[in-house]
Every structure is written in structure tokens, then in C-alpha cells.
């Protein structure tokens, strides 16, 4: 294996690409030069910081540090997903719990089955992918549930008025929301490798790993993303269902 990684001089040279984007923006009067510059500087600083912290974690804190890192990612992902569905009660707690369950179950299974090594340099990047898959599904399901509860309120109440318990009255709408939330994960699993080479595989190939070895990793990644999305989506849906109805099987009013 002989990874070809750009030197710092190479990274510096790539700044010319940012300059190119700035020139194009200026030329076409897009007024984006400032945003492009800020984005490029921010990306550089963030990645240097993350690289430095990762180095520290890998060399000094081991698996405990990696677990802490994943936990922080879960908390941030919970906040991001919760922002998608304002007005649902207890959204932050639900979103965080959903991402946590999806991540813990998926990552835990991979570790328990020995599919990935229990090392910080493996757990953190794989954990990152799992967390972002769980976050996407959680955000989607919460958004869809929020929309369903608003648009289907009369139909849900018509079912409740027939004496159906809350869970039964809500099932058709919950199912619809879950299907929508899982479609992106299913679609990207279906088309993997056809439309674009996925991240993990690209990284391994760039690092000099043989393609047939790299795909083994990618297959595991795709399966774990499916599991993370399904588990997080299901958890979010069931927790949301519990807070959407009260003890008298009534659909609560949502804040605007």
C-alpha cells in the first residue's frame, strides 16, 4: 500500500481553485465572493482542528475517547434533526434518543460481531457515518410526522372518534412517514457504485487499497447505514407517537 496524499504545498496550491470560484462569482456579479472565501477558510480551519483532535484521540485516549467522540456527534446530530420539526413536543429528547439508539445498536452490532476493529481510528469514522445516517432518517421522519399530524388531523380525529386507540388511529400516517424517511437510505443502497463511488470506498481506493478489498468495507457501510436509518426512524416514530397523544387518546395541539 502506497497512499498518495497531497503535501501541504499541494493543499496550498489548491487554494487557486477557490480563487477561481471567487473570480467566476465576481465576473458574473453573483455577490458570493465573500461567502466562498469564508466557507473555504472555515472548511480549512475546521478540518485542521478536527485532524489535530483526532490525532490526540487516536494516540492518547483510545476506545474511551472514541466513545466520547461518538456521543458528542450523537448530541449534535440530535439537535440538528430536532430543528426540522419545531412544534412537536419533546423533539430534542426524541431526536437525540433516536440517533443514539440507531447508532448504539448498529455500531454495537458491528463491534460485537467483530466486523470492525474496536480501535479509535475505526470507531470514529464509522461512527460518524452511522450517526449521519441516523440523523438524516430522524430528521426526515420528524418532518413528515409534523406534516402528517397537521394535514391529517381531521382524519386522525375521525378514527379516534370511532373508538380506535391512538396507536391504531395513527398507524396509517406513521407508516407513510416511516416509508418516506427510509426511502433515501434504500435508494442510495440500490444505486451505490452506479451513480457515484461512495465515500468509504473512495477513501480506501485513494489510500491504495485494491478495489475488491475496498468494496467489502463499502458493503458493510451500506448495510449499517440502512440499519441505522431504520432503527433511528422507528425509534423516533414510536417516541413521537407517545407524545403526540394524551392518556385519553386525544391528538395534542401542536405549537405553531
Amino acid at each position: 500500500m502506497n497512499p498518495t496524499v497531497p503535501t501541504w504545498v499541494g493543499v496550498g496550491a489548491s487554494v487557486i481553485l477557490v480563487a477561481f470560484a471567487v473570480v467566476v462569482s465576481h465576473w458574473h456579479r453573483l455577490h458570493l465572493a465573500r461567502d466562498i472565501t469564508i466557507a473555504a477558510v472555515r472548511a480549512g480551519i475546521q478540518l485542521v482542528a478536527v485532524g489535530a483532535i483526532l490525532l490526540l484521540v487516536f494516540e492518547h485516549t483510545g476506545l474511551l475517547g472514541a466513545t466520547g467522540w461518538v456521543a458528542i456527534m450523537v448530541i449534535i446530530a440530535g439537535r440538528v434533526a430536532a430543528r426540522r420539526a419545531p412544534g412537536l413536543p419533546h423533539t430534542l429528547a426524541i431526536a437525540t434518543a433516536a440517533v443514539a439508539v440507531g447508532t448504539a445498536a448498529t455500531l454495537g452490532s458491528l463491534l460485537a460481531l467483530g466486523v470492525i476493529d474496536a480501535e479509535a481510528r475505526v470507531v470514529i469514522p464509522v461512527g460518524g457515518m452511522v450517526v449521519s445516517g441516523a440523523m438524516l432518517a430522524t430528521a426526515l421522519i420528524l418532518t413528515r410526522l409534523r406534516e402528517e399530524v397537521t394535514s391529517a388531523r381531521p382524519a386522525i380525529e375521525a378514527r379516534l372518534a370511532l373508538g380506535l386507540p391512538a396507536r391504531e388511529a395513527f398507524t396509517p400516517y406513521l407508516r407513510g412517514a416511516l416509508r418516506t424517511a427510509l426511502i433515501p437510505a434504500i435508494d442510495s443502497t440500490k444505486t451505490v457504485g452506479l451513480i457515484s463511488l461512495p465515500g468509504a470506498m473512495t477513501g480506501l481506493i485513494l489510500a491504495g487499497v485494491a478495489p475488491l478489498t475496498a468494496i467489502r468495507y463499502q458493503i458493510v457501510v451500506m448495510y449499517m447505514l440502512l440499519a441505522a436509518a431504520a432503527l433511528a426512524g422507528l425509534t423516533a416514530a414510536h417516541l413521537a407517537e407517545r407524545v403526540l397523544f394524551d392518556d385519553a387518546h386525544r391528538l395534542r395541539s401542536l405549537a405553531a
Binding site: 381531521p154 382524519a155 378514527r159 372518534a161 370511532l162 386507540p165 386525544r250
Partner: protein, 227 residues
């Protein structure tokens, strides 16, 4: 059934949402085996009152009783099966009429479904139709039949004819009269005094959340004005 005792009794019922007082200290009774019209202008609290009776809504103060039992003491799902609810807009829940009737009554057989169609003055062949192809009047009567399929002793009807043309409205009114003649209690929300006079045996008049009159419609001044 003892028809002398009321089906529902409201005692100093208040509903407050935020700062708005939707119902203010309402005390009244709703008799059994009759049609009670809950009448008043828009925003008077009529639908709010109706939703208390099957606990889709909850009072912030006071007590609602059903057969003299406070509602929270009853199993809410059983209560809702005994007290059906039909809203102003016909809300069809599935693609087929028969499937719609079975939402609350999964064991309903085609024969029972045909009897229900007769009860709501619809032909039996409508059972095989798609709900999307029903007219407004047909859809409203399918909703009525769906509520009846559960076997309730009372029906709450929230402006059941206000979205219908006069001919369809008349059929729905006839259906309601026949159902009550068959022993059902109906509580009907209406902003239409003429409909209350025409249809109801008893009326409860609300204005701005307060009870302003209750009694037989022909004896209430409020209902003598045309609207």
C-alpha cells in the same frame, strides 16, 4: 331505556384555550332519544361543546356526565363507541366505501353494511364504489353510516348539512329523523335557526361561549329569528 334522565349533563363547564374563553360556565342537559340542536353564531363554542361529549376535547373546569357518570370515570374508547361523531366536512378514510365502514367495525359483513346503507338512504350498490367518486351528500351519509356501524346510542353531528346542496341536506335531515325514531339520540350543531326549528326537539343556544337559552325550539325567542 329510561328516557326521563338526561343522556348528557354539563355542570358549570368551562373551556379556556390560552386567554380565550371558548365555553364559559355552561350548565345544561341533553335528553335521550331526541334531537338536540346546539345553536349559535360562529365562534359561540358549539363545536367545542360537541367535542367535550366524546372527549375529543376536555373541559378546563366543570363536569360533563354521561348517564350520570362523569366522563373521566368511563373508558374513553368505550365512550367513543357509544357516542359517534360526524363532522361538517365528510372525511373518508379509505379508498372503498365498504372498507370505510369497516374502519371502526372490522367484522362488519356485507349484509350488515347493506342494512346500514338503507338506514342512511343510500343504495346498497354504493358499497362497491370508490370513496373518491361519491357526491358530497353521498359522502356525508357514508360518514354517518360509518359512525352507525360501531353501534352507538348517540350521534354527535357537527353542521352535517352546511357543506351540502339543499336537496342533499334534506335527505340527511330525513335520515337523522328516521334514526332518532329508531331510538338513537342525536346532538346536532347548527348555526341555522330554521334547521333547529325544523329538526330538533330540544335546543341549547350559545353566544360567545355562554349558554343563553335552552328548551324546546318553538319556545326560544332566539330561534324565531330567521337565519
Amino acid at each position: 331505556m329510561d328516557h326521563s334522565s338526561p343522556l348528557f349533563a354539563l355542570d358549570q363547564v368551562t373551556v379556556q384555550r390560552g386567554r380565550a374563553l371558548l365555553l364559559d360556565d355552561v350548565t345544561c342537559e341533553i335528553p335521550q332519544g331526541a334531537i338536540t340542536a346546539v345553536v349559535g353564531p360562529s365562534g359561540a363554542g358549539k363545536s367545542t361543546l360537541l367535542r367535550l361529549l366524546n372527549r375529543l376535547g376536555e373541559p378546563t373546569g366543570g363536569t360533563v356526565r354521561f348517564h350520570a357518570e362523569p366522563l373521566p370515570a368511563l373508558d374513553v374508547l368505550t365512550l367513543r363507541r357509544r357516542v359517534g361523531h360526524v363532522t361538517q366536512q365528510s372525511i373518508l378514510l379509505t379508498d372503498d366505501v365498504l372498507a370505510d365502514l369497516r374502519v371502526g367495525a372490522p367484522d362488519l359483513d356485507p349484509e350488515q353494511a347493506a342494512t346500514l346503507m338503507k338506514q342512511v338512504n343510500l343504495p346498497a350498490d354504493i358499497l362497491s364504489r370508490k370513496t373518491a367518486n361519491l357526491s358530497g351528500g353521498e359522502a356525508q351519509r357514508v360518514c354517518l353510516a360509518r359512525a352507525l356501524a360501531v353501534g352507538p346510542e348517540a350521534l354527535l353531528l357537527d353542521e352535517p348539512t352546511s357543506a351540502l346542496d339543499p336537496a342533499s341536506a334534506e335527505v340527511v335531515e330525513t335520515t337523522v329523523r328516521e334514526l332518532v325514531a329508531g331510538g338513537l339520540t342525536v346532538i346536532l350543531v347548527s348555526h341555522n335557526a330554521a334547521q333547529a326549528r325544523r329538526l330538533a326537539d330540544h335546543a341549547v343556544v350559545l353566544q360567545a361561549g355562554r349558554l343563553v337559552a335552552t328548551g324546546p325550539p318553538d319556545q326560544l325567542d332566539y330561534l324565531q329569528e330567521d337565519s
